[in-house]
Subunit: 401 residues, 2 copies
């Protein structure tokens, strides 16, 4: 048995980011940039007014100055002339500052009189002007490579004049559920059978993390059926299997994939739930074999599939995001396996995140797993911990997991 | 001017959840349930073995007992007979417990001898058995209405035998950017013009929160063009405009929409950035008028469009999710307008979330807005605050915003 950290490192070892593709800006939200996004123009493109007001020569617009309004320049309609002594041009927020002017007097600091204004608060050079390139100049980096694009980033890329963006292709994850006893939801259930939940949970998991799931037909407990599943994963970036990853008489996944040439890396981890996690490679196709138990499969997905998806997506950080919380109830000492306790999370009155492990940690309780706010991480041989003690937690709900 | 809280309440007033639709389980991740999801079967469906081992009659399987292996029952292949005294049946994890048996002896607690086993650790009634319905019984509620479905929920709905789920239709948000000065990214830019970023940022914002954006063509600063934009929003759940919401000479949105019968609710809020926020209704179509300034538009979207999307999506909580953080740098006293400071967020060594406002809070700095981890909320007339003081923060990055 190897540790969670070693297993994760081995899953990530030699796993490349998915290749680049070009997507329209309107489709780029949530995608991961494959190259830095540089500004293609300056913003603002020229000196512009920050307010509704009047373009003036400051030297000429002291308290009480009377200026002739010689032009009107709404945003998008620059005034083509040059402001001379004794003149002013009406501007609006975002209007280009006309030549000759070096300040803006806001509307509230003037009184109007036909085609003239009187200044009631002296102008200061540069006042109420946004300088060309104040937000960014052409060539400035706007968004680094390896960032999952937020709504704000999309706005920034638009402002930088990018109709297209280079991103990493969505990781394609083939998902192969195995077992004679499982049936698709709504289909006839064999005697003693259950409904397949892992493949659908994992497909949603892949979607939540920006990947593209390919759900393969269920493979019966038969070497050739499992081998055919691997064949169907051609073109995927990763094959994820569920069930049959240990070496019981009916755990045929290893043997079925070995028939297709899988080089086995490891298949046992010192963790709970989910000890029988398999990792290997069929030619260029990495294989992650998750346990058949739904809770174990999901916990292993958080610990190993999430990092693999992050790496394939082109993200720099691959570890599952941990936060510090305080325990809402004591925990006993842990044994030699890393544990991942399903827990409720709530914010206390002072803003502290409180994590309370469910009393029942039975790995067959999918309903409790679905109700958990997150997983409390317990290191191998961790000592008993009192309520109030700090613990590391992986939040699940906020990730859509 | 009205407060942020009053404005939000008025935006949400009479805003209904979007109607229901049916989606395939495989498409349901991230959607919001429109009805509780009840289990259609029990899980496990019968008493099953929790381990690889042997089904026994406990009274009959004391230390040293020798039992005849009369059957083999892999998961999905129940043994049809009844276990008699002196007999046992080979089971695997998930195998149905045969009739007559009341305990499981795990494989490690037996020695094999041809067709017989010897028990090396006495059986206990009920041991290593998962009872029928232990996870859930038919009819049990699995997922409440009004929940945004996680990957785990999808697995749970599958296990409960649901190939389809009733969810709220994605809120359809029509987005109308206005202004003579703006151009779509990559298209010719008019003299003194800039690239339109708001519509694209808001479309991504809508997607991030599970809605369906409809980006309308840019409306020039012309009453009829703006009215035509409102016409094009037919069938949307909400029309969002950007730009021209105040009452400057070139702020024509109110007038353009009034031509189509808009009943104006309010258009000024005591907040920064983003004072000119408009709300109204054209017949059955609610209208949210965001400022033209990109930073103001995004902050107003967090404060008002996010709650509207939550309500339209059928979620019970509509307030932007706040967390408590501590200030990384002091803040001066605030004036009479609620402020929303762009800030970096980081977790300190002890797990505390630390929020540090950018030195520059210029609402023209979209690049800084995109780099912010979140917004520090400053109440109207809040006193000066020292580093280390608690503040409420809206995290943006973790929401994909």
């Amino acid at each position: 048995m190897i540790s969670v950290a070693e297993a994760r490192a081995r899953v990530l070892d030699q796993l490349p980011a998915a290749p680049r593709e070009i997507v329209a800006l309107a489709e780029a939200w949530g995608r991961v940039t494959a190259a830095p996004v540089l500004a293609r123009l300056s913003q603002p493109p020229s000196d512009v007014s920050a307010m509704d007001g009047f373009a003036v020569r400051a030297a000429d617009a002291g308290l009480g100055a009377r200026l002739e309004v010689v032009g009107n320049a709404p945003a998008g309609h620059p005034w083509p002339g040059t402001v001379q002594a004794g003149q002013t041009v009406r501007l609006f927020t975002g209007s280009v500052l006309p030549q000759g002017a070096d300040a803006v007097v806001i509307q509230e600091d003037t009184t109007a009189d036909g085609n003239f204004i009187t200044v009631t608060e002296a102008a200061t050079p540069g006042r109420h002007i946004r300088r060309a390139g104040q937000d960014f100049a052409a060539g400035n980096p706007l968004i680094p490579a390896g960032r999952r694009l937020t709504a704000r980033d999309i706005g920034l890329a638009a402002a930088g004049n990018h109709p297209w963006l280079a991103v990493h292709r969505r990781p394609r994850i083939a998902i192969l559920a195995t077992g004679d006893e499982i049936a698709l939801p709504g289909e006839p259930i064999p005697p003693g059978g259950i409904v397949s939940s892992n493949a659908h949970a994992l497909a949603a998991f892949v979607r939540a993390l920006g990947g593209e799931p390919i759900v393969l037909p269920i493979a019966l407990d038969d070497l050739e059926a499992i081998g055919a599943g691997a064949d169907a994963a051609r073109g995927a970036d990763l094959l994820v299997t569920t069930g049959g990853a240990s070496v019981g008489a009916h755990d045929l996944v290893q043997a079925g994939l070995a028939q297709r040439g899988m080089a086995l890396d490891f298949w046992k981890i010192a963790m709970r739930p989910g000890k029988p996690l398999m990792h290997g490679r069929i030619g260029g196709l990495p294989v992650l074999g998750l346990p058949g138990n739904p809770v174990s499969a999901l916990v292993c997905a958080v610990l190993f599939l999430l990092p693999a998806l992050a790496r394939l997506s082109g993200l720099p950080d691959t570890a599952p995001p941990e936060v510090t919380a305080t325990l809402g109830a004591p925990l006993p000492a842990n044994d030699h396996r890393a544990d991942h306790l399903r827990a409720t999370l709530h914010e206390s009155a002072d803003g502290t995140l409180v994590a309370t492990a469910f009393q029942r940690q039975d790995s067959a309780m999918l309903r409790l797993m679905a109700q958990a706010g997150g997983l409390i991480l317990r290191a191998p041989n961790a000592p008993a911990a009192q309520a109030g003690a700090p613990v590391q937690v992986i939040r699940l709900e906020s990730l859509g997991l």
